[in-house]
C-alpha cells in the first residue's frame, strides 16, 4: 500500500442559486494514492468541476478535511494556496489556457517565474519539459501557430515544469479530435507509468477508461466505479 497523495474527508461545498441552496459537493470522501491514475466522470452540473477546483486548491471547502501530499489544505490562506498550486499541482485545461502573447517555451516557464527561478535555469528546465512532450522544435512558436494537439502538449509541458506531485487534467481532450485525443491520452499514460499521480476529469467514458481507476460523481455525491 502506497501512501495517500490526496485524502478528502467530509468535504462540502454549497452554493446559493436563486434563493435555493445547491450542494455542489455533498460529503465527499476520497483517497487517491501516490502514483495513481484516477478518472472522475460525471455529467455536466454533477459537481466534478467544483471537485477539481477543490483538489487544485483554487477553491476552499465549506466543511471537511483535505490533505494533499501530507499537508492540510482546508485551512490555508490564499497566499499559501497560491504556493501549493505553484509547487504541488500541475493544471491541464480543456481549452489549453496558454497565454497567447507568450511563445511556447515562455508559457512553459511561467510556473518557474512565480517560483523565482533564475532566467537561465528556467529556460533549460522549460526546454527539457518541451522535449518530454516532443515539441522542442516549436519552442519559439506562439500558441496561435500551433495545432490544438500541440497546444495541449505545451500545456502539459507547463504543468510538468514545476515538477508537481500531482497532475490535474480537466477534460484535456474535450477540444481535440479523436486522433489527437489518443496522443494526449498516451502521453498522460506514459507520465503515469513514470510514477506521476494523475487525476483526470471527463464526461467521456472512452477517455475515462484509460485510467486505472474510475470514480463517478452525480449531484455532488461520489461513487466508486462507472455509474453513468
Amino acid at each position: 500500500m502506497t501512501e495517500a497523495m490526496i485524502t478528502m474527508h467530509g468535504i462540502e461545498k454549497k452554493y446559493e442559486l436563486g434563493g435555493s441552496v445547491v450542494h455542489a459537493l455533498d460529503h465527499i470522501d476520497l483517497t487517491i494514492e501516490t502514483g495513481a491514475f484516477v478518472s472522475i466522470i460525471g455529467p455536466s452540473g454533477s459537481g466534478k468541476s467544483t471537485l477539481m477546483n477543490m483538489m487544485g486548491c483554487l477553491d476552499k471547502p465549506d466543511a471537511g478535511q483535505y490533505t494533499l501530499g501530507g499537508s492540510r489544505i482546508d485551512r490555508l490562506k490564499d497566499r499559501e494556496l497560491a504556493d501549493i498550486r505553484n509547487q504541488k499541482i500541475g493544471f491541464i485545461f480543456q481549452n489549453f489556457n496558454l497565454l497567447g502573447k507568450l511563445t511556447a517555451v515562455e508559457n512553459v516557464e511561467l510556473p518557474l517565474i512565480y517560483r523565482g527561478v533564475k532566467s537561465k535555469e528556467r529556460r533549460t528546465r522549460a526546454m527539457e519539459c518541451l522535449m518530454r512532450v516532443g515539441l522542442e522544435e516549436r519552442a519559439a512558436h506562439l500558441p496561435s501557430q500551433l495545432s490544438g494537439g500541440q497546444q495541449q502538449r505545451v500545456a502539459i509541458a507547463r504543468a510538468l515544469a514545476g515538477e508537481p506531485q500531482i497532475l490535474l487534467a480537466d477534460e484535456p481532450t474535450g477540444a481535440l479530435d479523436s486522433k489527437t485525443s489518443e496522443e494526449i491520452m498516451r502521453l498522460l499514460t506514459e507520465l503515469n507509468d513514470n510514477g506521476r499521480t494523475i487525476v483526470l476529469i471527463t464526461h467521456d467514458l472512452h477517455v475515462a477508461r484509460k485510467a486505472k481507476r474510475t470514480v463517478s460523481i452525480r449531484d455532488g455525491r461520489l461513487q466508486e466505479g462507472e455509474h453513468i
Binding site: D78, R79, A82, D83, Q87, Y114
Partner: protein
C-alpha cells in the same frame, strides 16, 4: 517573482498594444512636455529681463514725478544732487520726434539730459562724444544717436559731424553710442540724446517729470533714496505725487511676477498630469477586464495576489515613466525650437525636469493601484471561466 522579470513582462505587454499605449501616455507626454517647455521659456525670458535690469547697475534710482500741478524744476534737481549718498543725477525729458537725414527718416524717442546720463545708465560712446555741460549751457543743437538709430539714418556712413533735422531744425551729430540692448521699450540703441536745455525748448516745457540718480555705491542706495524722498517731500506734501524706485524694487516686482507665473504653470501641468493619470487608470481597468482570463491562468499556475498586483502596477508605472521620458524629450525639443525661431533665451532647470519625470511616475503608480488591486482580487475560478 523577480522584479526585473516583472519589468520585462510589462514592457512586452506595452509593446503588444503600441497604439493604445501611446494614446494612454499622451496625457502624461503633454503634461510633462508643457511643464518643461513653458518653464524653460518663462525662466529664459525672466532671466533676460533681469540681465538687462542688472546691466543698468544696482546703484540706479529712478524718480518719477506724477503731480503735474506743482512743477519740479532744475533747481529742485540741484537740491537732490546735494543730498548725501547721491553721486550724480541726470534729468530726463523725453518725447518722440521724427529725425530726418536726406531721404532716411525715423520716428524715435528723444531724451533731453545732461552729461552725467552716460555714466548713470552705463552707456559708452562708440564715436565722437556725449552731450557736455557746455552744450547744456549754450543750448547747443547737438545730438547723440543710439547705434541702431545711426544705422537707420546714415546707413554705413559715419554719422559724426553730419546734420539731422529734428522738428525742422538742424542738429549736429556729435556722437554715436555703443549698442547696449535693452528691455521694456527702453532701448538706448533706438534713441537720440540732446542737451536738457535744448530739449526744454524743443518740447516747450520748463519742468521735469523724471530723473535718474546714482547712489555712491550699492550700500548707500537706501540712504540715498531716503534723502531724495526728504527733498521731494519739501515740495510735495503727498507721497503719492512721486515715486522713488531702485533696481532692486524693479527686480523684486519682476521676480514676484515670475514666481506667480511659475506657480500657475505648475498648476496647469499638475492638472494635465492628473488627467493623464486618469487616462492611465481607465486603460488599466480596461486591460484588467480584457485580461481576466490571463489573470486566472496565472493564478492557477501559482501567482500570488502580490505577483498580479505588482505586474499591473509595474505596467502602469512603466507606461507613465515612458510617457514622462518622451515628455521631457518633446519639452526640450519644443524649447529649442522656440529659442531658434524667436531668438529668445531658454533656461533649463534640471531639478524641474527631474521633478516632472518623477511626478509622472508617481501619477502612474497612484492611478495604477486601483486597477492592480482589482486584478489581484479576481477569483481564479471565475477568471478562468471568463471567455
Amino acid at each position: 517573482m523577480n522584479f526585473f522579470t516583472s519589468i520585462k513582462m510589462a514592457i512586452r505587454n506595452i509593446q503588444g498594444n503600441k497604439l493604445r499605449s501611446f494614446l494612454t501616455m499622451l496625457g502624461i507626454i503633454i503634461g510633462v512636455s508643457s511643464v518643461i517647455a513653458l518653464l524653460a521659456i518663462g525662466q529664459g525670458s525672466s532671466k533676460s529681463v533681469s540681465d538687462s535690469v542688472n546691466s543698468l547697475g544696482t546703484n540706479l534710482i529712478t524718480v518719477t514725478i506724477t503731480n503735474t500741478d506743482t512743477h519740479f524744476t532744475k533747481s529742485n534737481l540741484n537740491e537732490v544732487k546735494e543730498t548725501s549718498g547721491v553721486k550724480s543725477v541726470a534729468p530726463i525729458l523725453s518725447g518722440r520726434e521724427t529725425l530726418v537725414n536726406g531721404s532716411n527718416s525715423s520716428e524715435s524717442s528723444i531724451t533731453g539730459t545732461t552729461s552725467s546720463y552716460l555714466s548713470i545708465r552705463k552707456l559708452s560712446v562708440k564715436e565722437g562724444r556725449f552731450v557736455t555741460s557746455i552744450d547744456e549751457q549754450f543750448r547747443q543743437k547737438v545730438v547723440v544717436l543710439g547705434s541702431d538709430l545711426a544705422d537707420t539714418l546714415f546707413e554705413n556712413q559715419s554719422a559724426v559731424n553730419k546734420y539731422v533735422l529734428i522738428d525742422g531744425q538742424r542738429y549736429l551729430v556729435v556722437g554715436v553710442l555703443n549698442s547696449k540692448g535693452g528691455s521694456m521699450g527702453q532701448s538706448s540703441d533706438d534713441s537720440a540724446f540732446i542737451p536738457f536745455s535744448t530739449a526744454q525748448r524743443l518740447m516747450k516745457t520748463t519742468y521735469l517729470t523724471q530723473f535718474y540718480a546714482q547712489a555712491n555705491n550699492q550700500n548707500s542706495v537706501n540712504w540715498a533714496m531716503a534723502g531724495i524722498k526728504r527733498v521731494l517731500s519739501q515740495t510735495y506734501s503727498d507721497s503719492d505725487d512721486y515715486s522713488v524706485v531702485n533696481q532692486q524694487d524693479v527686480m523684486d516686482a519682476m521676480s514676484s511676477v515670475t514666481s506667480t507665473m511659475t506657480l500657475l504653470l505648475a498648476g496647469i501641468a499638475g492638472i494635465s498630469l492628473l488627467v493623464g493619470g486618469i487616462g492611465i487608470m481607465n486603460i488599466m481597468l480596461v486591460s484588467v477586464t480584457e485580461r481576466t482570463r490571463e489573470i486566472g491562468i496565472r493564478k492557477a499556475i501559482g501567482a500570488r495576489r502580490r505577483d498580479i498586483m505588482l505586474q499591473f502596477l509595474i505596467e502602469a508605472a512603466v507606461l507613465s515613466m515612458l510617457g514622462g521620458i518622451i515628455g521631457v524629450g518633446i519639452g526640450f525639443a519644443a524649447s529649442e525650437i522656440y529659442a531658434a525661431a524667436t531668438g529668445g533665451t531658454v533656461v533649463y532647470s534640471f531639478p524641474i525636469m527631474t521633478a516632472a519625470f518623477l511626478f509622472s511616475a508617481l501619477v502612474g503608480i497612484i492611478f495604477g493601484v486601483f486597477p492592480a488591486y482589482k486584478a489581484s482580487k479576481l477569483n481564479p475560478i471565475e477568471a478562468l471561466r471568463n471567455e
